[in-house]
C-alpha cells in the first residue's frame, strides 16, 4: 500500500506531483478533503490535499510545494517507493451548490487544492471563472488542467513574465465589477487569502477559503489546528479545512504557522547537509 505509482516535478522542481496507491481512501474521497502522509518511521505527519483521485485505479494524487525538511524528504521518494502511512480522507468535503457564476482563485500551490473544487463546481452546472497566479512564469502550475476545469481562465504573474502583470486580486476585482459573481473560492498563501477576502467583503460576495494550519492527528483529537473563525475556535481538520473567509482571523493563522520556524530551519539545513554528504 501507499506506493508511488507516478511522479513528476513542476514549477522548476519546487513542486512535486505524486500519484499514490491508496484504494480505500480513493473510494471515499471527495473534493476539498485531505490526507496525512508520513514517509518513514521517524517522519512527521504532513497534511496534503488530494488534487485528484481515481477510485477505479485506487489512487490518489497529491501536489506539494517543497518548503522544508519533510517535503524535501518526500521529493526524494521515487516511483516504486512507499509512504509508510497515509491516512484519510480527512476534513469536510467542499459544500458544492449550483449558484450561477462563481470565481475560483488560486495562488502558488493553492492551485492544486483549488483544481478539484473548480472542476466539481463546473460539473454541477455553475459558470466558472478561474484566476490563477504565481510569482513568475516558471512557478505557475496546472494551467492546462485549470483551463479544462473552468469556462474562462485568466493567468497572472507578479513580475509580468506571463499573462496579466499583477496579482490575482486585481483580476478578481475586474470580475466582481463586471459579473454577478455568487461565490468566490480563494486558495493560496495566507496573505493572498487575507487580501482576497478583504476585496470580496467590499462586494459582499460569499468567499470560501481553505486553511492550512499545522496539524498532528487530523481527527480532532489534539487541537493543534485550531483557528479562530467568527470569534470562535474551530478545528480545521474536522470543521474545515474550508471556512467562510470573511470570518477567519488570518493574522492569528499566520503567526501560528511560524510556531516552529527555528526548528524547521535547523531540520532543513541538517537534512540538506546530510544529503550532500551522501
Amino acid at each position: 500500500m501507499f506506493e508511488i505509482l507516478k511522479r513528476h516535478e513542476m514549477a522548476d522542481g519546487t513542486v512535486v506531483m505524486n500519484e499514490i496507491s491508496a484504494p480505500k481512501i480513493a473510494a471515499k474521497a471527495r473534493p476539498g478533503q485531505f490526507v496525512i502522509l508520513k514517509a518513514n518511521e521517524t517522519g512527521e505527519r504532513i497534511p496534503l490535499t488530494m488534487a485528484d483521485t481515481d477510485p477505479k485505479k485506487g489512487t490518489i494524487t497529491v501536489i506539494y510545494q517543497v518548503v522544508g525538511k519533510s517535503t524535501a524528504l518526500f521529493r526524494g521518494m521515487q516511483v516504486g517507493e512507499k509512504y509508510q502511512d497515509v491516512i484519510g480522507p480527512l476534513g469536510q468535503p467542499t459544500h458544492l451548490e449550483k449558484l450561477g457564476k462563481v470565481a475560483c482563485v488560486g495562488g502558488g500551490t493553492g492551485i492544486a487544492v483549488l483544481h478539484p473544487i473548480t472542476r466539481a463546481l463546473k460539473e454541477i452546472g455553475n459558470y466558472v471563472y478561474a484566476v490563477i497566479g504565481a510569482r513568475t512564469k516558471d512557478l505557475l502550475i496546472l494551467e492546462d488542467k485549470m483551463k479544462a476545469a473552468s469556462h474562462e481562465l485568466e493567468v497572472c504573474t507578479d513580475d509580468g513574465t506571463y499573462g496579466h502583470h499583477g496579482f490575482v486580486t486585481d483580476v478578481l476585482r475586474d470580475l466582481l465589477e463586471r459579473e454577478n459573481i455568487k461565490l468566490v473560492v480563494g486558495i493560496g498563501p495566507v496573505p493572498m487569502m487575507k487580501f482576497l477576502c478583504k476585496l470580496t467583503a467590499e462586494y459582499g460576495v460569499k468567499t470560501l477559503v481553505s486553511l492550512n494550519p499545522i496539524m498532528v492527528d487530523g481527527t480532532g483529537m489534539c487541537g493543534c489546528c485550531r483557528v479562530t473563525v467568527g470569534g470562535k475556535t474551530r478545528f480545521a481538520c474536522v470543521d474545515g479545512p474550508e471556512f467562510d473567509g470573511h470570518a477567519v482571523d488570518f493574522d492569528e493563522l499566520a503567526k501560528r504557522l511560524d510556531a516552529y520556524k527555528e526548528e524547521e530551519r535547523m531540520a532543513y539545513e541538517k537534512f540538506m547537509k546530510e544529503r550532500q554528504a551522501g
Binding site: 480505500k24 512527521e44 502511512d85 491516512i87 484519510g88 498532528v216 481527527t219 483529537m221 489534539c222 524547521e264
Partner: protein, 470 residues
C-alpha cells in the same frame, strides 16, 4: 512459609527501586526499575491470604490477588501470570498505571495498620518476567466460528475485546486511526511511566494469536460502520476513547506555546519529539512551564516538560491538594523531580508578545467554598487577587470530552447530552444492532482497568450474540 511466620517477621513493604530524581528528571527511561525475584517473594510473603479478600473487591476486574500472590511465593511465576490473565490481559500495563491506592491496595486489610501489600508491583513483576523470560507459548484457541468482528480503536478496551474474542474462535480485525496501536497507552502515557515496548509486545501477542491490525483507518471517514457490516463483519465494538481536548476558554489560548495536553503528549510520545531532530516532529521546549490541572495527564505533561529541559515547571490547580485526581505515585514522583504545585490558583488569561508567543498567564487565587455536585468543595475566586506568572510554555490538562467524528457519521447510535455513546453497563450493547461500545467513549475519561473491564463485559455479550443472536 505460612502466614504466621510472615507476620512475625514483620516484613516491611518492599520499596521499589527507582532511578534517582536528579538523574531521571532529564531522561525518558522508566522511573521504577522493578522488583527482582527475591524482593517479589519477600513482598508476596506479606500477604495474609485472606479468606474473603477485600483487595479483590477493590479491583474492577476482580483479579484473584491472593491466588496469584501465593503462586509467587511458591516461585510458580508462569502459573501466577496465567492466573492473572484469566481476569486481566494487560497486567504489565495495569501493574504500572492502575490507581492502586484507591483500588486493590486501598482495600487491602494490611493497610489498616501497616502499608498494604504492593499488589501493583507484584503484578508488574510477574508480567515483566513472563515477557522477558517466559516461554511465549500461545494459549489454546477454540475452533474457528466463521464469525467476523471489527474492533474500532486499539486502546486498552479494544485490545481486551480483540484478545477475548480471538480465543473464542472468532475472526477479529482492529481498525486504528493512528499509525500505531495502543491508544492512550502509546500517545498519552509517557515512556518513563509505561515503556512503549510493553504495549507493542502485547499487541504483537494478539497478532500472533491471529488478530489482524489495520492502522491508518479512521472509522467514520475511511470507512463507516455500515460499510463494515456490508463488508461482512457480524459485530462491531467501538472503543475509540474520549479523544477531544478540553480548553480553558480564556483569552490568549491560541498563542504559540499554549498546548492541549493531547497535543503536547502526542508530539512527545507518539511522534517522539523528544528525539528531535532525529525524529522530524518538533515541540516547544519551555524553560518556564505552567501546566493546568492535577490529574495523571497533568503530571505526565509536567514531568515531560522537565525532561525536555525546563528550568521550572509549575502545576497550577484551582482546587486543593486533597482533590488532586492523579495517582499518588505520580504526585510523589513529580514532587521528587522538583515540580512545583500552585494550588487554589486559576488561570484568567494568557499574555503574549508581538510574534504571538505566550510569555505569561494571569492567575487568580481561589478559596474553597461549599461542596459542588461532585461532592468536592467548589473553589471560588478571591476578588482582586490577580497576579502574573511567567511562562514560555503552557499545557492545558483539564480533562477530555467525547470526540464526535465517529458518532456524527453513524446513524442509529444514541449518544447522551455530552456526546458519549449510550451503552448498557452490563453488556456494552448500544442502540444500534450489532454494535457494542465501551471505555472512555462511554464513561468519559476514566482508567485503563475500567476500559478493559468494559471490554471484557462486551466481549462476553458479543460472544453470546455470535452464538445465539441479539
Amino acid at each position: 512459609m505460612d502466614e504466621k511466620s510472615a507476620k512475625k517477621e514483620k516484613i516491611p513493604r518492599q520499596p521499589m527501586p527507582e532511578q534517582k530524581p536528579e538523574v531521571r528528571k532529564r531522561n525518558f527511561e522508566e522511573v521504577p526499575l522493578g522488583y527482582d525475584e527475591e524482593t517479589a517473594i519477600r513482598e508476596a510473603q506479606r500477604c495474609l491470604q485472606c479468606k474473603s479478600p477485600a483487595c479483590v473487591q477493590g479491583c474492577p476486574v476482580s483479579v484473584d490477588i491472593p491466588g496469584f500472590i501465593k503462586l509467587i511465593r511458591e516461585r510458580e511465576f508462569t502459573k501466577a501470570i496465567r492466573h492473572i490473565w484469566e481476569r486481566n490481559s494487560l497486567p504489565a500495563v495495569c501493574g504500572r498505571v492502575c490507581p492502586q491506592e484507591i483500588q486493590c491496595e486501598g482495600m487491602c486489610i494490611l493497610g489498616k495498620k501497616d502499608r498494604p501489600v504492593a499488589i501493583g508491583n507484584l503484578e508488574r513483576f510477574v508480567a515483566d518476567r513472563e515477557r522477558e523470560h517466559g516461554t511465549g507459548d500461545l494459549p489454546p484457541k477454540q475452533h474457528p466460528t466463521g464469525k467476523r468482528v471489527a474492533v474500532v480503536g486499539s486502546g486498552p478496551s479494544g485490545l481486551t475485546v480483540a484478545g477475548d474474542l480471538i480465543l473464542k474462535g472468532h475472526d477479529v480485525t482492529i481498525f486504528e486511526a493512528f499509525h500505531k496501536p495502543g491508544g492512550v497507552l502509546v500517545y498519552g502515557i509517557p515512556e518513563f511511566r509505561l515503556p512503549k515496548e510493553i504495549v507493542y509486545s502485547e499487541v504483537n501477542f494478539l497478532e500472533r494469536l491471529g488478530v489482524r491490525l489495520e492502522c491508518n483507518v479512521v472509522v467514520g471517514r475511511t470507512v463507516s460502520l455500515d460499510e463494515l457490516f456490508e463488508e461482512g463483519y457480524d459485530a462491531i465494538y467501538i472503543g475509540v476513547g474520549a479523544g477531544l481536548p478540553r480548553f480553558l476558554n480564556i483569552p490568549g489560548e491560541n498563542l504559540i506555546g499554549v498546548y492541549s495536553a493531547n497535543e503536547y503528549l502526542t508530539r512527545a510520545n507518539l511522534m517522539k519529539a523528544y528525539l528531535f531532530p532525529k525524529y522530524d516532529t518538533p515541540i516547544v521546549r519551555g524553560r518556564n512551564v505552567a501546566v493546568f490541572g492535577a490529574g495523571n495527564v497533568a503530571m505526565d505533561a509536567a514531568r515531560t516538560a522537565m525532561r525536555l529541559g525546563a528550568e521550572r515547571v509549575r502545576i497550577v490547580y484551582r482546587r486543593s491538594r486533597d482533590e488532586m485526581p492523579a495517582r499518588a505515585a505520580e504526585i510523589h514522583h513529580a514532587e521528587e523531580e522538583g515540580i512545583e504545585f500552585h494550588l487554589l490558583t486559576a488561570p484568567k488569561r494568557f499574555i503574549g508578545n508581538e510574534s504571538g508567543r505566550v510569555t505569561g498567564v494571569e492567575c487568580l487565587r481561589m478559596e474553597l467554598g461549599k461542596p459542588d455536585e461532585s461532592g468536592r468543595r467548589r473553589p471560588v475566586p478571591v476578588e482582586g487577587s490577580e497576579f502574573e506568572l511567567d511562562c514560555d510554555l503552557a499545557v492545558i490538562a483539564v480533562g477530555a470530552a467525547a470526540n464526535p467524528l465517529l458518532t456524527q457519521s453513524t446513524e442509529g447510535l444514541e449518544i447522551n447530552e455530552r456526546g458519549y455513546i449510550v451503552a448498557d453497563p452490563e453488556t456494552g450493547k448500544t442502540t444500534k444492532r450489532g454494535v457494542w461500545a465501551g471505555g472512555d467513549i462511554v464513561t468519559g475519561q476514566a482508567t485503563v482497568i475500567l476500559a478493559m473491564g468494559a471490554g471484557r463485559k462486551a466481549s462476553d455479550s458479543i460472544h453470546k450474540y455470535l452464538t445465539w443472536g441479539w
